[in-house]
Symmetry: C2
Subunit: 258 residues, 2 copies
Amino acid sequence: MVITPISSAANSRLKLARSLQRRRTRRKQQLILLEGERLITDSISAGFPPALFFFTPEAERQHARLLALAAEAGAQLLRVEPELFAGISDTVSPQGVLAVTPLPHLPPAVAGLALILDGVRDPGNLGTVLRSAAAANADQVILMPGVTDPWSPKALRSGMGAHFRIAIREAKSIEQVRAWLPGYAIYFADASGELSYTDVDWSHPSALILGGETERAGIVSQWPDVTAVAIPMARGVESLNAAVAGSVILFEAVRQRL
Amino acid sequence: MVITPISSAANSRLKLARSLQRRRTRRKQQLILLEGERLITDSISAGFPPALFFFTPEAERQHARLLALAAEAGAQLLRVEPELFAGISDTVSPQGVLAVTPLPHLPPAVAGLALILDGVRDPGNLGTVLRSAAAANADQVILMPGVTDPWSPKALRSGMGAHFRIAIREAKSIEQVRAWLPGYAIYFADASGELSYTDVDWSHPSALILGGETERAGIVSQWPDVTAVAIPMARGVESLNAAVAGSVILFEAVRQRL
């Protein structure tokens, strides 16, 4: 294994990693940061090996297997001192392993079940619902303009590897979404909707729009011809966490399709 | 409205509020801290008015309605300067309203659907799943030893008022749980379980044990005679977020009982 030691904060690869903390740079460079053993291992096993792999001397001992895995997958191995590692890490107590990996572009599947996020601003919620969509075998997750970046460290962390298992597409407009989902019935989750999610026939090609939490349904775009579906709830309870509501509906679709 | 201005950090009521940031003091005093307009409003409308209500001069103008509501509910109104308010606030950008409220003890309902948390350490997950349990009309949520404090500011925040709508009980042992749930079938959520959660007959009195995320199922106690139930998932996906998994199963129980 060829290991390159980095001892200066001005090193170009270290600078590249730091620059990827910004959304805009991630888009431009088509690269993302993956921190921690679990996320890096998941990405490699899903077929997305890192280009660069940074580690501290301590992590070199503790994560020897991951080091070998990354080397075998073709990553450049870069040893950095803890002080420099802190500058590229997003966590308070870093594990000392961080990968720069090409941003994945998975093709949508044809399961006939899609999730559309519109107005979701919390990266933790976004990652959690991506994880549910991947687990529910949805064909894709479409993000409307204004949704928080799915490739941010926090969204990646709560996604727990889902980002490498389901197509994530960013739509510019409602028209584009319609073109991507020909023949799909489109529903949106709204606690005040009159139709119960259990009364929808999810065996047809269907898409579910999920909003954020602040507004009523939290949906931002003006969707024509979509049907509100609600999860009936106990009196006095206003709503569920957005990621929970989306997941409950997705798994009802899965149940109906069994 | 009688308003008492507080100008010293040594004020006894301010000191009481600060001391309630600790779990042990919350138990001893049987008081909790509620921060933000939404949580305080929810607690009052659920019948749990604050004993003390702290606010900054700016919040006095912005949250005049909440002030009147708290006064009408019998709270002592205490005006504090922003510097002193920061010492009792748990948030980075405080709204400037904070209540000290008796810790609620709601009696369990008799819905025949209970949730047991065992090994849940993330307060955000705990609050989220409490919210789902309240929405699903479960009769109670039982916490096993070692579960994160449901009355911490972060758990209260993600609970969004659920803490005032469902019985939360802390169990000392498995035997105590069995005594609390006579005749209930007990299941536990485990991604590697062989029985699908959709094949369980949830119309009988049932309880679901939900673990944390770190271990396999994340369950800590040694439960005898319980049945593992799984949510069937796509290949490659290891697990769902714990709060999501619990919510999906709870709402399947609700669906079967419709």
